[in-house]
Amino acid sequence: MVAVLVAAAFALPGGYVAWRVIGGTESPLALLTSPRTLSPLWRTVQLAVLVSASAAVLGTALAWVTTRTDLIGRRFWRVVVPLPLVYPSFVGAAAFISGLSPGGIVHDLAADLGFDLTMRLHGLTGAWLVLTLFTYPYVYLPVAARLASLPTAFEENARLLGDRPARVFSRVVLPQIGSSVAAGSLLVFLYTVSDFGAVHLMRFETLTQTIFRTRLFDRDRSFALALLLLVLALVVVAAERTITRAGARRGALLTSDATVGDRRALTVPLGRWAAPATGLVAGVVGLALVSPAISLADWGLFGWMRSRRGGAPLRLDWDDVLAPTWNTVWIGVTTAVIAVAVVLPVAYLTTRHRSRLGGAVNAVVVAGFAIPGLVVALSLVFWTMHASPFDFLIGSMPVLVFAYVVHFGAQAVRTAQVAVDAVPARMEDAARLLGAGRLRRLATVELPLMLPGLAAGAGLVMLSTMKELPATLLASPIGFRTLATQVWGTYEALFLPEMAILALILLAISALMTWLLVVRRSDHLR
């Protein structure tokens, strides 16, 4: 019941798009036969499939290496590996491109060391590379959380029986983390479909680009295309559910018979693989996190030195930093906590009860992630102003948090589903037999077991909220400023040094919060 209500709330943006299309003059079906629609649609699918596949491989590999091996500095890597997620897409791509181009700092540093990094990044290759580097955390976080909560007995046994690590991985680990990998890749797919900033700077015309370009002067077509995007997302979400369900049976079999609570840390000695593994982790972090950060630091330092030398002063004061930083922190945490609380009933319904209703609720909640943030914001304005008694709430904090939760809830749902699934039914039965009530079972048996998974979902929502832009600009209380809106404002005015400093602050705050709230929390349970 609660789950259905939640789903109804999540359906608001989609309902708004459908309503506008019905009232408009463009039919999505007619548009489908036009090459003006088909070529961006085809490019969107191509890019989304490529990015999900590469992010799945990269995210899984990084998760395994940082949780299951004796990699040097694992705890440090666990904090920094998820961080590329926090670059607002346009900033990350801009810093990435300009750093690697001739004259950019990363390019020149590498040239001094004798490497020619000249990459003319654009189009499909450029968009694919940048999006892979910025979205693999969607796979990494849930998979790492799953690995942290899995009993290690099977891996131990397989190893004692003489299986090599690669074989242990493919026969024992992969079946158990399969659903987490699928969950993460689905998020990557939906993110890619709805991304605007990176594809825009890479000059790759996807469906979202067309929607944005036509949004004001050809609104009917823009909405019809948004509906197509939504249908594409629904199809992919449904397909993912069917496939994972079929695959999950094997994994579930293994888990349910394992001894829960057996969490001795299992570390696979890397041996002669230590150097390549370190190279992989350092290489990915270097490309995705450090190289844009170096470009930003370069811009920021340039501006600071310039003002020190008596040139143009930095146009940035404490007002631009302090309140936005605090706003970013508390809105991120609030949204994450509320999102997890709201989607938990959905996760229960969709994993414990195998019904058609569960499938529908799942599709509605998850597919919402593919709707661009601008449309989510407009839809909430539309519904609160014209179809509810709550129009006094417009431009207030609850509407903003509601917009975030609807937009990003999908990220918590898929990880929560995996977490719920990981609680063996036998344990619950045992607690029930011992006379524990529903709430007590939830609090003392299930929540602790699910905590790593829920924390990973909350972490994803938090990082996404902290960088969110269109919904923050349009649905926030007037005058509410976050670091992301400040970064955008300086970027639009082309105040690059100021933009760089703000973006680095956003990065630092995100690192701190990921460590405090996500990494430390799941480490407790080891």
Binding site: R36, A94, S98, S101, P102, G103, G104, R120, L201, R203, E205, R213, T214, R215, L216, F217, D218, R219, W299, F302, G303, R306, A312, W330, T334, V337, I338, A341, L374, A377, L378, V381, M385, D391, F392, L393, I394, G395, S396, M397, P398, A443, T444, L447, P448, L451, P470, L473, L474, P477, I478, G479, T485, G489, T490, A493, L494, F495, L496, P497
Partner: protein
Amino acid sequence: MNTRSISSRLVRSAAAVLILVVLTASATACGGDPDSLTVYSGRSEKLIGPIFEAFTAETGIALDVRYGSSNDLALLLAEEGDKSPADVFLSRSPGPAGYLDDLGMLSELDNDVLDRVATGDRSPDGTWVGFAGRGRVLVYNIDEVATGDLPDSVFDLTGPEYAGRVAVPGSNSSFQDWFTLFRLRNGDDVAIEWLDAMVTNDSRFYPKNGAIVEAVGRNEIQFGLVNHYYNFQKVVANGDAQRSANHGFAAGDDGGLMIIATATVIDSSEEKDTANRLLTHILSDAQQAYLTNKVYEYPLALGVMPADVLPPVPADRVGAVEIDDVAAEFTRTIEIIEASGILDQ
């Protein structure tokens, strides 16, 4: 840590968060203060914020400003309709203002506001007034291109010496503003022929003005059609390291055009007098001087001179041509741009 305390802490923090949210909501929901105005600004805070601060300092009237992209804010206003809290909307170009005008959402401005600018810099029906201009120019790489080789006309760019060397921001709204006017003045045939020739000449598509100036600066491409403003900001940021400069086309050429930022008063506003007062302030000599000396834009108020460093004032303005159906003309522009294939270059 025992599990009981984890979960009770979770519950406690969730409750605290909820209370906080409700409190902030009730605090922000009270409004309707007559001593304040609500402004939706499509111009960024770093550029226009000081003008707002000066207004509040002079009049004691507080301004609540929502910043965003002009197109998004226009969509938001259209969605809010007559329940919109906005009194004033500032747009980076006449397009979004024209869109709202077609929906009947703009009020007619006071005459003393309209009379601050030339007739070409305001809408014929008096619903918007221009307050700052950005010129369309050709940005070029100063190491690769000698000043003597710079073209007089935008039509020259289809020649062989420019093959593969010109960046065109096909999806950018300022470019679309320019192209709409270019099309209305020369006719669709000439405009389509020019754009197709640019595509055949291997011109490159870039998404934004800023990206073009950056690409030209690092010699990824040698020329670009942009707004003059971006190169000024890059030079402020990078000094001599910025290897690009602006070139204005010859006087009267179709390549040069002024895109004017517009100010409007929303028809549903209950504070129209105060709103007009804000517009008068933006068009005052002092604020216009700030706009040209500090932000490097062209002032539009009569009698205020542009900063010396700016290229000569472009002769043509977007506002000078009356467009009957703004949305239809822009839709047509988008169609032509898409059909040309420039977005795939």
